[in-house]
Symmetry: C2
DNA sequence: CTCGGTGCAAATGCTTTGCAATGTC
DNA sequence: GACATTGCAAAGCATTTGCACCGAG
């Protein structure tokens, strides 16, 4: 049972919202789907540019917005000014542990946190969209380095 | 039993780290302690400027860093580019529910989330510093407005 | 008296915008 | 053909930096 692919999903989203189907949008989606882990807008733009693409930064930003909007991507800010993205489509929802020293990011799944988050939203009469848990600390390698 | 005040606390932090005791730093701390809820660097700078202060933006940013560092303030980014601050000193640790429509932010306390976060950090061999849970949704007023 | 801190203005870095040209519907 | 979308360059905005002066230790 194959889940229908992100290209179809994005096409439907664009149609539903009366956005146009442009080659740039799908070129960006294709490049995005090849990323593993986190990436930022400029990573993506430069990767495309180096691969010979003509897309502009403006279009990359515009499309990243739409991909985030429809849930294909998740957007995060790990205490920085730049936005980082990650593929959400077809991946299990997870949280992040970030090392304040080297910036390394690890993931973990905790359904209980998601459930509590949903409950908290309901209690405060908010509809629930999503919950983002960031845990900050120092990873074991950095602690070892610091001991010298 | 009165807890010793933030001015003493900040003084000790500065001494301990061999930073200088300057009037600007305490002028900023005083203004910060008068804030309720969330504020950003420019809020603070303008409030001080309007009150006749001579402090510069650079000093405000520098001091906000130090106040965050020593734990008097918490710094957040609610999916925006600007950083928001809130007094942490003497307040219970809490999480936030944010309305994606009007930007309203409400707080709630959930010790279980903090405990799970600490456990996750430990499991991944990170020392634990802090955990930030942001829950996004739409508040009841905005949902009502949208129905018209 | 030394060097960290300050104010100011200019620089930076990520993101958005204005505008004329283009291509989808 | 209308008008959303594009590419480009310029603007915007939060924050940082360079530098000359100042003042805490």
């Amino acid at each position: 049972m194959k889940q229908n692919d992100p290209v179809d999903f994005f096409t439907q989203y664009l149609r539903r919202n009366k956005f146009r189907i442009t080659p740039e949008r799908f070129e960006i989606l294709d490049t995005v789907m090849e990323c593993d882990g986190h990436f930022d807008a400029d990573d993506l733009f430069l990767r495309m540019k180096n691969a010979g693409s003509k897309v502009s930064r403006a279009t990359v930003y515009n499309t990243l917005d739409k991909l985030t909007d429809c849930g294909i991507l998740s957007r995060y800010r790990f205490g920085e000014r730049l936005a980082r993205y990650e593929i959400a489509y077809g991946n299990e929802h997870h949280h992040h542990v970030i090392c304040r020293s080297c910036g390394k990011i690890e993931e973990f799944v905790d359904k209980r946190v998601d459930r509590f988050a949903r409950d908290a939203a309901t209690t405060l009469h908010y509809s629930f969209q999503d919950a983002v848990l960031h845990i900050y600390g120092i990873c074991s390698e950095c602690r070892a380095d610091g001991e010298e």
